[in-house]
């Protein structure tokens, strides 16, 4: 059988994938099933099963609001990183090799520091006595320091910077492969700069954007540290709710419901982005 598989072109011997496959089965699929079972358990000892935790979670407008806020945060982060990434990506493809190297270094730089440090750096920047407020006060643009920490705006600003490389890297990789003569042709045929961007560059860069959007969405919705430290306790998102319910309250079934919900929410977002890609390619 193995010999036959080897001779058939396009078929891969499954045994090569077996070690990782079985590891995933044992350490990913099985715990996931336990998590799912836990969400229907009455307590953490699986003594009996009930729908109580699901009813409590989805029957309460507060928790539905938490799900909505979490997904919305991911979407806003995608929008913000997209808006800021395209200009940089355009600059990148228009530049020579030296500038490209410099840009890649600048893009990668944030990834070289821990997310905890980047998050704390944003506290220093956004605090009442921080750089932003001191500048605004000095310029006379505001008379009292703005409250940027502990707000959704502050969190989005920080997440945009923290997640930016995840959007930029795939985008730049894909846009690098776009044949420059296509935009030249568009321009030569009388297309404006904007028209060229929207009709030529944007559609061709979509695979890169989709990969970036997927990463940013998945990362922003689950950014426990940034959400807790910059968002503070008044903004509740699913990751901190899960931590609280499992670690402080010990309500594991409820935490399991929140975890499954977060998983489904992130997967839905990811699927939405890949659907967008298919839709865009067929039209």
């Amino acid at each position: 059988m193995a010999g036959a598989a080897k001779n058939e072109p396009g078929r891969v011997d499954w045994r090569l994938a077996a070690p990782l496959g079985f590891t995933y089965l044992a350490f990913f699929a099985a715990p996931l099933l336990i998590l799912l079972a836990m969400s229907f358990a009455a307590d953490d000892r699986f003594a009996s099963f009930s729908m109580d935790s699901w009813v409590k979670f989805w029957g309460d407008p507060f928790y539905r609001g938490v799900v909505y806020d979490t997904v919305r945060l991911g979407m806003v982060a995608v929008l913000a990183t997209s808006a800021l990434s395209y200009p940089i990506a355009l600059l990148f493809i228009a530049s020579g090799p030296l500038v490209r190297k410099l840009l890649i270094f600048i893009i990668l730089l944030p990834l070289l520091t821990s997310v905890v440090i980047r998050t704390f750096a944003w506290i220093v920047i956004l605090a009442r006595e921080g750089v932003v407020n001191q500048t605004l006060l000095a310029l006379g643009l505001t008379s009292a320091p703005l409250n940027l920490l502990q707000t959704e705006l502050g969190l989005v600003i920080a997440l945009t910077q923290i997640e930016m490389p995840l959007m930029l890297l795939p985008l730049v990789t894909v846009m690098q492969q776009i044949n420059p003569s296509l935009s030249d042709a568009s321009r030569a045929l009388g297309g404006s700069k904007w028209r060229t961007f929207f009709r030529v560059i944007l559609p061709l860069s979509l695979p890169g954007w989709i990969a970036g959007a997927t990463l940013v969405f998945a990362s922003a919705t689950t950014a426990f540290i940034s959400q807790t430290v910059i968002g503070g306790a008044r903004l509740v998102y699913l990751p901190s709710l899960i931590w609280q319910q499992s670690m402080v309250v010990f309500d594991w079934p409820f935490a399991a419901v929140a975890s499954v919900t977060l998983l489904v929410a992130v997967l839905s977002g990811v699927m939405l982005f890949s659907l967008l890609g298919r839709f865009a390619r067929t039209t």
């Binding site: 894909v174 997927t214 430290v229 309250v249």
Partner: protein, 343 residues
């Protein structure tokens, strides 16, 4: 093609996660034990003070597993009978929860040579107190030359506008909010008054955050007033932060931190030797010094002046709480705090 790079990224992350989970349980050998320890100051302190003394006195090696109290209890519960480490270090809330979940093995006081140097009651059938924490108000003396002296003042101008609030996730947060409830006519079974006050104060307070966020916000001048334990104050002060501690008029709060032997531990003798070393005068007198600032319980230790307490006898006048009363209500308080303070 970008799809593939995403998968690779996720696989890589999963592999890293799996790898980091491996070594902890494999690093155990005979003549040694694994002890959970709070991350940060405690981890640093026990590694540099207790571990060398334990090796010197008993020839026992200790591996530390840095975990917060709640995480230790969660891990032990998840182990379902298989001890993930040999010793807990816990605050009273998690202690009560762990005791209820039957996660302790007994402690034999006759195996602790230093047991006699601790005040009565600090060694029980399943717990050995290693230090006490003192909780009260702390403030920026430059911002407030006249600091608040009572809990209720936190909700008055000009203090409320500079206050950093934290909820029921930590021991110090929980007991502080209970004391605030008391001054407004509530009790540890009636938190209604403090929830009403919190609602009123919310639009005005400088920050509401998780416990880990408070020191950073204080350091950055985002808040000038918070409630926390003396260890945090001493640590911040050492870093040059403008901060002072103040016991409220109704008294500072105290609670003890204790070591316990995890049910099913296979290193019971080493665990006792570890506990005995931690409560010894030699260890306690070093743990009391900056940067650790832990208030000792061993009566042979003479207190230094950086601890905000003059003698161990002062503890008798401080406020204590019954966690058997608090624990059953805590989940509901946390849920209510979440709901009412969320924007």
């Amino acid at each position: 093609m970008p799809e593939i790079s995403r998968r690779k990224l996720l696989q890589g992350a999963a592999a890293l996660g799996a790898a980091s989970a491996l070594p902890a349980s494999m690093a155990r050998a005979s003549g040694s034990l694994a002890a959970a320890i709070y991350p940060g100051t405690w981890d640093e302190a026990y590694r540099s003070v207790v571990a060398p003394l334990l090796a010197e006195n008993y020839g026992v090696d200790v591996d530390f597993d840095p975990l917060w109290a709640v995480d230790q209890v969660t891990k032990a519960r998840a182990g379902r009978g298989i001890a993930p480490f040999d010793c807990f270090v816990l605050d009273p809330g998690p202690t009560a929860a762990a005791r209820e979940a039957d996660l302790f093995d007994p402690i034999d006081a006759s195996m602790l040579s230093n047991a006699g140097n601790l005040p009565d009651g600090m060694i029980s059938a399943d717990a050995a107190t290693v230090n006490v924490q003192v909780v009260g108000l702390c403030y920026n003396p430059t911002a407030f030359p006249e600091p608040p002296t009572r809990w209720e003042q936190l909700f008055e101008s000009p203090y409320v506008e500079r206050l950093g609030l934290t909820g029921f996730q930590t021991t110090f947060g929980t007991v502080s909010l209970i004391e605030m409830a008391k001054v407004f006519g509530g009790s540890d079974t009636d938190m209604e008054p403090i929830f009403a006050k919190l609602q009123e104060a919310l639009p005005k307070v400088a920050a509401v955050t998780g416990p880990a966020g408070l020191p950073g916000l204080f350091q950055q001048g985002q808040i000038d007033l918070m409630y926390t334990n003396t260890n945090n104050v001493a640590t911040l002060k050492k870093q040059g932060v403008d901060i002072e501690f103040m016991a409220p008029e109704t008294g500072a709060i105290t609670f003890s931190t204790s070591l316990h032997i995890v049910k099913g531990s296979e290193n019971v003798e080493a665990a006792h030797q570890y506990i005995d070393t931690a409560i010894s005068a030699a260890a306690q007198s070093q743990l009391m010094m900056p940067p650790y600032n832990m208030i000792p319980v061993n009566k042979q230790v003479e207190l230094v002046d950086t601890l905000y307490i003059d003698s161990i006898d002062d503890l008798a006048d401080m406020v204590v709480h019954d966690w058997n009363v608090i624990n059953p209500q805590r989940a509901a308080w946390i849920e209510r705090f979440n709901k009412e303070i969320t924007k």
